[in-house]
Amino acid sequence: MKYTEEHEWLRAEGDVYVVGITEHATTQLGDLVFVELPEVGDTVTKDDEIVVIESVKAASDILAPVDGEITEVNTALAEDPSLANSDALGDGWFFKIKPSDPSQLDDMMDEAAYKEMIS
């Protein structure tokens, strides 16, 4: 698993990465009530705002962690945003992305570094 400073996690699945937000992030955000996902096939650039999430408290954005193409989105999450609260690292994933420059992952944190950041 890789982690970004924006509290996203990335898990390799073949040559694509599954992306979600961490439990720390969902705890801070509170109960999610709305998720707007990108379209499959979208080409995105690192730090583009590609997902809108709304919690009971406020709206926020999720940024593209790398350059690449969206290969799949979690439609179950759009139907039931609370999945991100109940299973942040599993059923609450947001989208899958195929990086165009996998070296962008090199700078990301591992679990220990992420835990250090949020502690």
Binding site: G30, D31, V33, F34, V52, E54, V56, A59, S82
Partner: protein, 374 residues
């Protein structure tokens, strides 16, 4: 949060794991470990306990109840004088332009009027009352009492287990109850759309009473986050957002709170700030009106979202003043102001959200049926 005031329940909030935030000069719990969504649903299903000690509690007293009531009627356009003993009523202070300076609850307590005002406005409210009413009347802020709200369908069972007389009260009744030996000023009211009680108790006893109420299996502590979504679903105004010094009771859809006796032709018509402006609006209508708004999509539309007649119009017809997700409704809910041409129930309008126009319908308030004990 060093400059913030603390309520008598501050230590209890911390021990319950509350997340504290600054609110109206106080450090207040926005949520507990249960979280806003579950706190909201729990209140509608069973009972929630809220700390509202930040609100202002004021006693207005004169030679008689009538003297105090008639004094307040010079500031408030509601019928205070005819309020029966041990009954409570909603009202508001108005200004010379007919705008609302604060909304409040007032109760006939036999020899005085007990007034509860919003935390953010309480200093100005007390100043206003003192300036207008003293020395004929005395205006005393009660600073040594906490205020709790117990809200939800199980509230009666919870409170009457401590003092059975709670069960005899109906909506907007007021009584002094004995809660484990503590003298509590209780009203059967609240701000969630649910049955419930507001309970004023000496600050020194606040923690023990709150703890006793929380000991009931049906009671959970509830923070400001759920308080806001509960009152929004109930169609109730948040002062400073849905009503303020620029909104009249007519525009704010609160004319129901102005009884006949204070209206033109009534025995005590007018005599409050802005009466002329308010009567003129009651007669001729207002440019804008407060309405309920139901976003048709799933995205919440919050305060500040601008409203338009259609997808391309350049001039806004209004804006949202409160909005968010309604856990009981199961979708987004909002209220706001629109020009009166667009205020009819069912009218479609558009809100601009992240650069896109999204449809909403003007909807009847409340969004969830009121569940009071009449």
């Amino acid at each position: 949060m060093a400059d913030l005031q603390k309520t008598p329940l501050h230590a209890l909030h911390l021990s319950l794991g509350a997340k504290m935030v600054p609110f109206a000069g106080y450090e207040m719990p926005v949520q507990y470990p249960l979280g806003v969504m579950k706190e909201h649903l729990h209140t509608r299903a069973k009972a929630g306990l809220f700390d509202v000690s930040h609100m202002g509690q004021v006693i207005v007293k004169g030679d008689s109840y009538a003297a105090a009531a008639l004094g307040l009627e010079t500031l408030i356009p509601v019928d205070v004088a005819d309020l029966a003993e041990d009954r409570q009523r909603y009202g508001f202070f108005t200004n010379d332009a007919g705008g609302i300076e604060d909304d409040l609850m007032l109760a006939n307590r036999g020899d005085h009027v007990f007034v509860v005002v919003n935390a953010a406005c309480k200093a100005a409210d007390i100043e206003r009352m003192k300036a207008a009413l003293e020395p004929d009347l005395t205006v005393t802020e009660i600073t040594d009492r906490a205020l709790l709200a117990l809200q939800g369908p199980a509230s009666e069972a919870v409170l009457s287990a401590i003092d059975p007389r709670a069960a005899e009260m109906t909506f907007m009744d007021v009584a002094t109850l004995d809660l484990n030996g503590v003298s509590a000023w209780v009203s059967r009211s609240g701000y969630t759309g649910e049955d419930g009680f507001e309970i004023s108790i000496p600050a020194a006893d606040a923690e023990s009473i709150a703890t006793a109420l929380l000991a009931h299996a049906d009671v959970e502590p509830i923070g400001l986050g759920a308080r806001d979504s509960l009152r929004l679903e109930a169609g109730l105004c948040l002062y400073g957002h849905d009503i303020d010094e620029t909104t009249s009771p007519v525009a704010g859809a609160l004319t129901w709170a102005i009884q006949k006796v204070r209206r033109p032709g009534g025995a005590r018509a007018g005599g409050f700030p802005g009466a002329e402006a308010i009567f003129q609006e009651m007669e001729n209508g207002t440019a804008r009106k407060r309405v309920g708004l139901l976003p048709e999509g799933r995205a919440p539309m919050r305060e500040g979202v601008m409203l338009y007649a259609d997808e391309t119009a350049t001039e806004a017809i209004g804006s949202i003043t409160s909005g968010g997700f309604g856990p009981t409704v199961g979708g987004p809910v909002a209220m706001g102001y629109v020009t009166s041409d667009y205020a009819a129930i069912g009218t479609q309008v558009y809100g601009e959200l992240r650069g896109k126009r999204q449809p909403l319908k003007v909807a009847k308030l409340p969004f969830t049926p009121a569940n009071f004990k009449r």
